[in-house]
C-alpha cells in the first residue's frame, strides 16, 4: 500500500506538487492523469525517491520512505518509463536481469527468472535473449522494459507513460497485456499518463491532477458520470463522454438472454462478443445498419441479443 499525506514538492519557489493526499491500496491500478507539467510524473518519482519530497509524508506499507536507503527502496519497486531506458550495451536478457543481479541472486536463479519473464511478456527467449536493444521494435523494447521492472517480483510497479511513444495498435496490445498481467499478478501499480482513454481503460481508480493538485479521484465510471469541474470534463473529451462510457461497459450487462424460439430467425445477425464493449456494439450496428446484434460467448455460441434500444437503458 502506498500512502501520500499532504505531500508537496517545491522547485525553487514553484509548487510542482502542492499538498496532495492519496492512498493506493495493495493490488490496485491507480492512474495519474493530467496535462504535461501538472506534477503527475513528479509525484511518481517522489514515491521511489528519484525526487525527494519537500513536505508531507510518503509511506509504503505504513513505513516512511525516508526510513529506507534510496537504492534499497528502488530495488523493491519496479520502474518503467516511456523511453524504456534500456542499456544499449547490454543484451535483452542482461537488461531484464539487472535488479536481480543488484540483489545478488544466484546466476541460475536469475536466468530462470529472466526466461520466465520473457515468456510472460510474449518474448520468445530463444529469439530475444541475446538481441541488443537497438534491434528491437518500440513495442518489443517496451515489453523488455516492463519485464525488467517486474524482474525482482516487486509488490509495487511505477510506470511513467510507458506506452506513450508507441503507435496506437501496439499501444492497445500492450494495454491489454498489462491488464492481463495485472489480473494474474495483482501488483500495486501507479501509472502516469496524459491519455484519458488509456486511463479509462486501465484504471481501477483515476486521479486527475492539475497544477500540482488533485482535482478529482474515483473509478472511471464515477469520473464519467460526475466530473468534478470543467477541467475534468474537457479531459474526458466533452461530448465524447457517451462513447467513452460505452467503451467501459461490457455487452453482457445490457444484452437480452436468447429466446431459443427466435434463435433461428436471428442467426444471420452480425455478432458481437459477450466481453466486448458497448462502444464496439454500437459501431457494429452503425456499420451494418442494423438495430440488433447476436451476442456470442467466448467459444462462439450464441447466448443473447443486443438491440439498439437496449443501449439506452442504464446498466444495472
Amino acid at each position: 500500500m502506498i500512502e501520500l499525506r499532504e505531500v508537496s514538492k517545491l522547485f525553487g519557489r514553484e509548487h510542482a506538487v502542492d499538498g496532495i493526499s492519496l492512498t493506493v491500496a495493495s493490488g490496485e491500478l491507480c492512474v495519474l492523469v493530467g496535462t504535461s507539467g501538472c506534477g503527475k510524473s513528479t509525484t511518481l518519482r517522489m514515491i521511489n525517491r528519484l525526487i525527494e519530497h519537500s513536505a508531507g509524508q510518503i509511506l509504503i506499507d505504513g513505513q516512511q520512505i525516508r526510513s529506507f536507503n534510496g537504492q534499497v527502496l528502488r530495488r523493491r519497486m519496479g520502474y518503467a518509463i516511456q523511453s524504456t531506458g534500456l542499456f544499449p550495451h547490454w543484451s535483452v536478457a542482461r537488461n531484464i536481469g539487472l535488479v536481480p543481479r543488484l540483489l545478488k541472486w544466484t546466476p541460475a536463479r536469475i536466468e530462470e527468472r529472466v526466461t520466465e519473464l520473457m515468456e510472460l511478456l510474449g518474448l520468445e527467449p530463444a529469439t530475444f535473449a541475446d538481441k541488443m536493444p537497438a534491434q528491437l521494435s518500440g513495442g518489443q523494447a517496451q515489453r523488455v522494459g516492463v519485464a525488467r521492472a517486474l524482474a525482482a517480483d516487486p509488490d509495487i510497479l511505477l510506470m511513467d507513460e510507458p506506452f506513450g511513444a508507441l503507435d496506437p495498435i501496439t499501444r492497445e496490445t500492450l494495454q491489454d497485456e498489462l491488464l492481463r498481467l495485472q489480473s494474474r499478478l495483482r501488483k500495486t501499480i501507479v501509472f502516469v499518463t496524459h491519455d484519458m482513454d488509456e486511463a479509462l481503460k486501465l484504471a481501477d481508480r483515476i486521479v486527475v491532477m492539475n497544477q500540482g493538485r488533485i482535482v478529482q479521484q474515483g473509478t472511471p465510471q464515477t469520473l464519467l458520470h460526475e466530473p468534478a469541474d470543467e477541467f475534468v470534463e474537457s479531459l474526458l473529451g466533452g461530448a465524447d463522454r457517451g462513447l467513452k462510457q460505452a467503451g467501459l461497459t461490457r455487452v453482457a450487462t445490457l444484452m437480452q438472454p436468447l429466446d431459443p424460439a427466435q434463435a433461428k430467425a436471428k442467426a444471420d445477425l452480425p455478432t458481437v462478443g459477450v466481453d466486448d464493449s458497448l462502444r464496439l456494439a454500437l459501431s457494429l450496428m452503425l456499420w451494418h445498419r442494423c438495430e440488433s446484434l447476436m451476442v456470442t460467448s467466448e467459444d462462439g455460441q450464441p447466448v443473447g441479443t443486443l438491440a439498439f434500444h437496449d443501449l439506452l437503458r442504464t446498466a444495472p
Binding site: N48, L50, G70, Q71, V72, L73, R74, R75, R76, Y79, I81, Q82, S83, T84, G85, L86, F87, P88, H89, L98, V99, L102, G145, R148, L158
Partner: protein
C-alpha cells in the same frame, strides 16, 4: 570438435585483421636492424659528413626509451584526464566543469618547448620534465573526449539506471564508462599519437629519445641523422596509431 573449429577460424581471421599494425611493426624492427648497415645509402644523402650513421646509442635503446617516456606520460594523462572528466560530470563536481575544460585547452595551446623550458628549473634536465610536458600536452584530447562521451549518454538510460536502484559507482562502471569507452579510446589514440611525435623535443633537455639523432643532425648539419630519427618516429607512430585503430573497431 565443431566448437574448436570455430575458435580456430576466429583466431585466424582476427589475426589477419591486425595485419596493418603488424606490417608497421615489422617495418620498424627491420629499420632498427638494417639502418646501422646502410652506410652506402646514407652516404648519398650526406656526402660531406664524416659519419653518416648515428651511433651514440643504438636505435633499439632509443626506441625503447622513447616508448617508455610516452607510455608513462600517457598513463598519467589517461588517469588524470579520465579522472578529472568523471569528477566534473558528477552532480557534486559540476561546478568545476568549465575550469577543467579550460585548463585542458590551455595545456594544448602552450607550445611543448615552452613547457620544457619552464619545467627545467623545477625538475632539472632529463626525463622528468619531458614527461611533464607530454602529460600536459596529452591531457586535452583525453579530457575532451571523456567529457563528450559521458555527456552524450542518453539521459533516460541514466534515469532508468537510477530508478532500478543502481548506486552511483555501479552506474559509472557498468553504464557510463562502457557507453563512453569508444569515444574515450579515440581521445587516448589522438593523445598518444601526438605525444610520440612531441616526445622527440625532450632530447633538447637531455631525455634520451628518438629526437637525439634529429637534434644531433640539426647541430652538425647532418641530414642522414635527421632522417634516421624521423623514419623511426614515423614508423613508431604509424604502428601505435594503427593498433588503436584496430582496437577501436573491436569495440
Amino acid at each position: 570438435m565443431k566448437r574448436q573449429a570455430g575458435v580456430m577460424r576466429i583466431g585466424v581471421s582476427s589475426l589477419w585483421a591486425w595485419w596493418v599494425p603488424l606490417a608497421w611493426l615489422v617495418a620498424l624492427l627491420a629499420m632498427i636492424q638494417i639502418m646501422p648497415d646502410g652506410e652506402d645509402i646514407f652516404r648519398q644523402i650526406a656526402p660531406d659528413n664524416r659519419s653518416v650513421i648515428y651511433r651514440r646509442d643504438d636505435f633499439l635503446t632509443l626506441v625503447a626509451n622513447h616508448m617508455a617516456i610516452v607510455g608513462v606520460a600517457s598513463l598519467v594523462a589517461i588517469t588524470a584526464g579520465v579522472g578529472a572528466a568523471v569528477v566534473v560530470t558528477r552532480s557534486w563536481g559540476r561546478d568545476f566543469l568549465p575550469l577543467v575544460a579550460q585548463l585542458a585547452s590551455m595545456g594544448q595551446t602552450f607550445p611543448p618547448v615552452a613547457v620544457l623550458a619552464l619545467s627545467v628549473p623545477m625538475l632539472g634536465f632529463g626525463t622528468e620534465p619531458t614527461i611533464m610536458a607530454l602529460v600536459l600536452y596529452g591531457l586535452l584530447p583525453i579530457v575532451r573526449n571523456t567529457l563528450v562521451g559521458l555527456q552524450g549518454i542518453d539521459a533516460d538510460v541514466l534515469e532508468a539506471a537510477r530508478g532500478m536502484g543502481m548506486s552511483a559507482i555501479q552506474i559509472l562502471w557498468q553504464v557510463e564508462l562502457p557507453l563512453a569507452f569508444k569515444v574515450i579510446v579515440a581521445g587516448i589514440r589522438t593523445s598518444v599519437t601526438i605525444n610520440i611525435a612531441t616526445a622527440a623535443i625532450g632530447s633538447t633537455i637531455g631525455a634520451k629519445t628518438l629526437g637525439d639523432p634529429i637534434i644531433a643532425g640539426i647541430i652538425n648539419g647532418n641530414t642522414a641523422y635527421i632522417l634516421q630519427g624521423a623514419i623511426l618516429i614515423a614508423l613508431l607512430a604509424l604502428c601505435v596509431d594503427s593498433s588503436f585503430e584496430r582496437f577501436s573497431r573491436l569495440l
